[in-house]
Amino acid sequence: MRLWKRHRVPVIREKKGGHPFYPHHLIRNTMAVLGAIAVLAALAGLFPAPIEQRADTLSPLPPDTAAVPMWLMRPVWLMNRVLNAPTITLLVFGGAFVFVLLIPFLDRDSEDSPLRHLFVAIIFLLWMFFIFITTWLLPVQVFLP
């Protein structure tokens, strides 16, 4: 830390030691891979990918209940639905991405500080908001015009 402050040399904090890859980590990795395949197969068997209604390109915009997109796109969809301003929605989500991209340059101090705690708390709350929107959208949708 002192070295970094004096010479502005990045300190490489690297986790050292541990077991050799073979066989310790290989066994763990194989277990994880087999587990993941089992989970995928179970999900695919129990909840197969839905076959939805075919796109009708000639019809007008369908009502919202007929076109709620997949979970990943719901925050953008909902914001656009509420504000009805694509430019603002694009700016907010584009801005959020640029902010996340620039995090290493905004937070260069490697020491702990109250400001950093606030920063992390804000980011965490934003994440929670995102998860709330994506998972609880359907009840919220009832209140939409």
């Binding site: 290989l26 993941a36 390109t57 953008v76 991209l101 290493p104 340059f105 994440w127």
Partner: protein, 237 residues
């Protein structure tokens, strides 16, 4: 004299052949002598790797799911027709008639969702542990590019079954891109391949989804993993 030299040659060939078999495998032995595969393999296998908690595994899980996506995606490519009237029918055929088609398609569906989810967890973990700081800041940028590529995979792949929801969602986000100042209308025309979303858009999305994005992702992944290998895993605070 002539017979003797042929004998020697034959014996030489036989000796070489036996040597080949003797040194474990027909190809491995001579290859190892030239490229020292065994040494490299031993070095890689014996390399000590620190113990990582399950929180640290989500990047690896995302990578594994990407491999699953490649495997299932290639099988799906044999059945899918990327044109307007046939796309929906080919998905129908795949899910109903083709043997185990539903399994492959559903695995592709869940693995894709899982990959995005694993990436979210991975980004949160890197953020919370502060692993984005120098000298790993470049890797954060590369990771964000990979994240953007994954989102592009989702956006392009979502339209491919040509369903009502996917169609209107695509209308929404392409409309949004059209709002970008200066380059918006040009980008919109480039993505849609015309005024509206049509079979042309579908073909474009298909090309992006199966050819352009995978290559870019593999290149950036190689870069991402090389940096991880060079700098090691962050010591917990």
């Amino acid at each position: 004299m002539a017979g003797n030299s042929t004998d020697k040659e034959l014996r030489g060939i036989l000796h070489g052949f036996l040597e080949w078999i003797g040194l474990l495998g027909l190809i491995y032995g001579p290859l190892d002598r030239r490229l020292s595969v065994k040494e490299a393999l031993e070095k890689a296998l014996k390399r000590p790797i620190p113990h990582i908690s399950w929180w640290g595994c989500f990047g690896g899980i995302a990578f594994f799911l990407f491999l699953v996506q490649i495997g299932t995606g290639v099988i799906l490519m044999f059945f899918y027709v990327p044109t307007d009237p046939e796309a929906y029918h080919s998905i129908h055929y795949l899910s109903g008639t083709a043997p185990f088609g539903w399994l492959i398609r559903s695995t592709h569906h869940w693995s894709g969702n899982g990959m995005v989810f694993a990436l979210f967890v991975h980004v949160i973990r890197v953020f919370v542990t502060g692993a984005y700081q120098r000298p790993r800041d470049l890797n954060w940028i590369v990771g964000m590019v990979l994240f953007l590529l994954t989102i592009s995979f989702t956006l392009t792949g979502y339209l491919l079954p040509w369903s009502q929801t996917a169609y209107w969602t695509t209308v929404l986000w392409t409309d949004m891109i059209g709002q970008v100042p200066l380059v918006g209308p040009w980008l919109l025309a480039l993505i849609r391949g015309g005024e509206t979303i049509s079979g042309v858009t579908l073909t474009r999305f298909y090309a992006l989804h199966v050819a352009v994005l995978p290559v870019l992702t593999i290149v950036f992944m190689a870069f991402h993993f090389t940096i991880v290998r060079k700098l090691g895993i962050l010591e917990p605070l």
